[in-house]
């Protein structure tokens, strides 16, 4: 139906965007990867005519093993715990809010608006507000005194306490253990649902990894020559609280949209079969919300990996206990002028985000076609 001239017009319209995205996304990613394998910004930047040398993977190695980069390793640890807490609690809160709103006989629009409005705020605003709320001798901590109780003593953002402490030199071993737990959960799920093919695919991986882990190969593989303690910084609770407050409305909106798509006939049918309200929720609603949970995990997970504004505004970029790789990337690049190291951290974040997003994109667009 379209003439050749129309096709040319269409292509000409599309071309600028394709070129821009090609350069700004893929070209720049390529450049970052290349830069991350140089020593640019270390000694080289000091010279008038900087000579950039290729040093392979040394920047990455230094971040994981170098004596000076202890902060980056704590950043990774912080990020790990932050992702788990933020994603987990946002999902729980969102599901609770959505379920609750579905039960309401009055005020649905009002409550939906109230639970979702934090989403429209800038993370910098959220950070500023919560910084005030979490002052050690004010805010939430003096709330109990209004009821005549002693004031709270928790040092929300400034605590230096650490729990779940582990030795970084054994990180490979701990990584393997985490992977094993994840695989075990997946295998168990496949087994329960009778998905034999998927189970037979994953079971050998699990067994192999289990055997290697038990044999102690990973504990012999020391990343550092000396023990280096890292753990969950208690100060992160403040960041988690603010971010869950901001994002739980989003998961609520996703779950509400999901609950609305469940046909009433399904629930009616369950009712006819004698199911109670709780049983309908448990055996009809929750299983049908699983795809929503999957997308929410991907979206929230990639937000958690990129978190920067909130921590910057709440605790400042120089506050070690609540730092994450994105913050250190900013400091290294724009304060320390270590552009190559900054690029390496950026590339690592990209790899982590891609692990989440690429499978998600592939499955979304495959579904979209069908």
């Amino acid at each position: 139906m379209q003439s050749r001239r129309d096709w040319i017009a269409a292509a000409a319209i599309l071309l600028p965007s394709i070129v821009l995205l090609g350069i700004f996304v893929y070209g720049f990613i390529g450049h970052s990867i290349r830069m991350s394998t140089t020593d640019w910004g270390q000694e080289a930047a000091m010279l008038l005519k900087p000579q950039i040398n290729y040093i392979g993977m040394d920047n990455y190695r230094a971040l994981f093993q170098g004596f000076l980069n202890i902060r980056f390793r704590q950043d990774l640890t912080n990020m790990f715990f932050f992702i788990i807490l933020f994603v987990g609690l946002s999902l729980l809160a969102g599901l609770l809010l959505a379920t609750l709103i579905e039960q309401l006989v009055w005020g649905e629009v009002f409550f939906r608006t109230v639970f979702l409005y934090p989403m429209s705020l800038s993370l910098v605003v959220t950070g500023t507000i919560w910084r005030w709320m979490l002052q050690p001798r004010g805010g939430i901590n003096v709330l109990p005194t209004l009821l005549g109780l002693p004031a709270g003593q928790f040092l929300w953002l400034s605590s230096r306490a650490q729990i779940l402490v582990f030795d970084w030199s054994n990180i490979v071993h701990y990584g393997a253990l985490t992977l094993l737990v994840g695989l075990a959960v997946l295998c168990l799920g496949h087994w329960r649902r009778g998905e034999e093919r998927k189970l037979y695919l994953k079971l050998p991986i699990f067994t192999g990894l289990f055997a290697v882990t038990v044999s102690g190969c990973f504990t012999d593989l020391k990343l550092l020559d000396y023990p280096e303690q890292h753990g969950f910084n208690v100060a992160l609770w403040g960041i988690v609280a603010a971010s869950v407050w901001q994002m739980s409305g989003y998961t609520m909106a996703l779950y509400l949209a999901g609950l609305r798509t469940i046909p009433d006939e399904l629930r009616e049918a369950a009712k006819v079969d004698g199911a109670s309200r709780m049983q309908i929720y448990r055996y009809v609603d929750l299983p049908l919300l699983k795809p929503i949970t999957a997308s929410a995990v991907v979206i929230l997970g990639h937000i958690a990996l990129k978190i920067f504004d909130l921590i910057f505004a709440m605790a400042g970029p120089d506050h070690y206990p609540t730092s994450v790789p994105a913050i250190t990337m900013f400091l290294k690049t724009f304060r320390g002028n270590e552009l190559a190291v900054g690029s390496s951290i950026g590339v690592m974040l990209l790899i982590l985000v891609s692990l989440l997003i690429i499978p998600y994109l592939i499955s979304s667009f495959r579904q979209g076609k069908g």
Binding site: S122, T128, L305, D309, L339, L349, L350
Partner: protein, 276 residues
């Protein structure tokens, strides 16, 4: 039928629980508003929860004066980048939904990937690029950056909307002699009101609230409000009524949009999660 009748005790319990949770969600705003309206002498940790003894607008006066330039920057940045990226997204969406260009199935995921990447992974080359082209530090450069990285979401949203328009309509129009631009101008554009609203709200909110590009690519005189606010809150000597009033000013435009046009806001939100 009788929807306003409490059928069981659980309905009452659900409402009580919802009300308590609503209070929890509103507490930060309560704290912000009362603190912003207090005189600096009245602000202390122990009385943080009490209402101001009298309303004092000093915080707002100071915040307005301090933030006026960055608020103006934010408005100029957010409005122009929103408009440009929406128009480009609409044209792209039209092409990608109605002209099955070879390789479009590969192109879409590649375009959309651009909205998920952590911008830290392109920040160093972007920074260099901006410096080499002389765009570093000013509003035009920031607008360009927000337009480019806004293209994936605007293209995606318009494309999925235009896919719903039946191809037969376009066929009929082209038989009547309309060419590419004619079809876009007289057929597609008049149907594009709702997606324009969804896309514009989404983009405006995103750009207004953005911080990483703003803090790394803008000189002080081009600073958006988020950077100005973060810098202020970073200082220790400031009395708390000022950052709280500043937070309200910074939040107001997006919150007003959300309250007035929440429906469209949520639609953009859900579309951001692709097929959700």
């Amino acid at each position: 039928m009788t929807s306003l009748k409490f059928r069981r005790i659980t309905d009452v319990l659900a409402l009580i629980l919802a009300l308590s949770l609503a209070i929890v969600y509103l507490v930060p705003i309560y704290m912000t508003v009362i603190t912003s309206l207090k005189a600096p002498e009245e602000i202390s940790f122990m009385t943080a929860w009490q209402l101001p003894s009298e309303i004092n607008w000093q915080g707002y006066a100071a915040a307005l004066q301090k933030f006026a330039p960055s608020l103006k920057n934010s408005f100029m940045l957010a409005i122009s980048a929103t408009l440009i990226s929406a128009v480009m997204g609409s044209l792209n969406g039209f092409v990608l939904s109605k002209y099955p260009i070879p390789g479009v199935n590969v192109m879409m995921p590649l375009i959309v990937f651009g909205m998920f990447i952590p911008y830290q992974s392109i920040l160093v080359p972007l920074f260099q690029f901006m410096q080499k082209t002389g765009l570093y530090g000013g509003l035009p450069g920031l607008i360009l950056v927000h337009v480019v990285y806004g293209l994936p979401i605007t293209t995606l949203l318009f494309r999925s909307f235009y896919q719903e328009i039946p191809d037969e309509l376009l066929g009929a129009a082209s038989i009547d002699g309309a060419d590419f631009f004619g079809i876009f101008r007289y057929l597609i554009l008049p149907l594009s009101g709702p997606p324009f609203l969804v896309v514009s709200i989404w983009q405006f909110t995103q750009i207004w609230n953005e911080f990483l590009f703003a803090v790394t690519l803008a000189r002080p005189n081009a600073q958006p409000i988020t950077v100005a606010l973060a810098n202020l809150a970073g200082g220790q000597a400031v009395s708390w009524n000022l950052p709280m009033a500043g937070s309200i000013l910074a939040a107001l435009p997006t919150v007003v949009i959300y309250v007035l046009l929440g429906r469209y806001f949520v639609r953009g939100l859900l579309a951001g999660a692709l097929k959700g």
